[in-house]
């Protein structure tokens, strides 16, 4: 299915389209958004979609759900560069590319069980972006560096 055709076929009335997800990551995005366990939300998943820009990509269409900024930050962690389109009444009201912030706060916990951020309940875990490729972030407190797999497991 070409990109152009797919968008024509599967237009949604209201919701969020996440395009340009790195191939193989669509289900991870669904997992961190905790949508798989919500039967009230209709999701269309397209994987291995041909893309001029990326070769292959994944695409998600989530009906009747507008993502908030915390959810967008989580997506940026595992699918940086994904395009988010917010649709209301079949019209695109907002379209942007998710970008990783330099400081990532509150969306994942440190993978180091001895880190003080896992011990003191009132502390918001915070991470600094060290590198985008390969994705590496560093805990503000214990300075542990985490890469994609650990990050995936630590997203709350």
């Amino acid at each position: 299915m070409t990109e152009e055709k797919m968008l024509k076929v599967e237009k949604i009335r209201r919701g969020t389209v996440i395009d340009h997800i790195p191939v193989g990551r669509a289900f991870k995005v669904l997992k961190i958004l905790k949508i798989s366990s919500d039967p009230g939300v209709t999701v269309s998943v397209a994987i291995h979609v041909k893309s001029k820009k990326m070769g292959l990509k994944d695409v998600l269409k989530i009906e009747d759900r507008i993502l908030d900024s915390s959810e967008l930050n989580k997506i940026a962690l595992i699918a940086e560069g994904a395009t988010i389109t917010i649709v209301e009444d079949y019209d695109v009201i907002k379209k942007f590319v998710v970008k990783l912030p330099d400081i990532i706060t509150g969306i994942l916990k440190c993978s180091n069980s001895r880190c003080v951020s896992n011990v003191e309940g009132s502390i918001k875990p915070s991470f600094t972006l060290i590198s985008k490729n390969p994705l590496t972030i560093k805990c503000h407190y214990c300075e542990r560096e985490m890469e994609t797999d650990e990050i995936m497991e630590s997203i709350s």
Binding site: V116, S122, I123, H140, E143
Partner: protein, 306 residues
Amino acid sequence: MWLNRDIVSIGDFSVEEIMEIIERANKMVPYASSGHPARPLSDKIVATLFYEPSTRTRLSFESATMRLGGKVLGFGSLEGSSVAKGETLSDTIRIVNSYSDAIVLRHPSEGAARLASEFADVPVINAGDGAGQHPTQTILDIFTIWKEVGPVNGKSIGFVGDLKYGRTVHSLSKALSMFDVSLFFISPEELRIPKHIKKDIERRVPVKETKNLDEVIEALDVLYVTRIQKERFPDLEEYKRVAGIYVIKPSLISRGRKNLIVMHPLPRVDEIPSEIDNLPQAKYFKQASYGVPVRMAILDLILRGE
């Protein structure tokens, strides 16, 4: 620039700043045994909060404070403290903040000192946070190299023993990689330096990894020995075999460079037998004694800012 500055992680400091501490520490050496005549910290109170026991570190901080004319308060174990009653670290720090001019913290959780520094107005010095950072130990190690073999740049430093779990090695090798040095990591397969640390260090300086101390001893200016802990090995025989390889013998030392020095963060077990102690290369007791002038320099800088 120094006044009220937290000393949390060695990574927060530039080479120039580390050298500034080292030069000040050098000036403190004579006062570390007799006390500073000007008593520059006579109006200051330093709190030492030790959530885990560490006699040497705590006593050297307290000695450093008192040698500068300051006073100390705090605890060396949790027994009877409010912590034993379940108080959070952030609450304890908020309280102690109003009782003292600086807080020295040893805590089992990694990142505890960074957290404390966010709740304290007074400067916080990290005296070891679990397997994390222990920046004043790192600075006193660099001071020992500087003092005993001259400028750090151009030196070859070899670490031998437990390079996997040894916090001292991780922190010191990272700090040394900011200088122009060559680093050698000598360990059994099971206790190799963690990959992420090696990768980071290799971006800046040449690194060689080997199991064989014999083959590199002649290339070293500094041999930094660490203890191999029995409990790291599931098999006692395997431990004995490995630990035996890295016992430092006089014959090994004699093959080293003329100015080679041997360091060790102490306590040692049998990786350095006592017959080495009287060799001119043995600097580990001196290294331990430098804890006081280095901590005097740091306290003086952050409490007086000049």
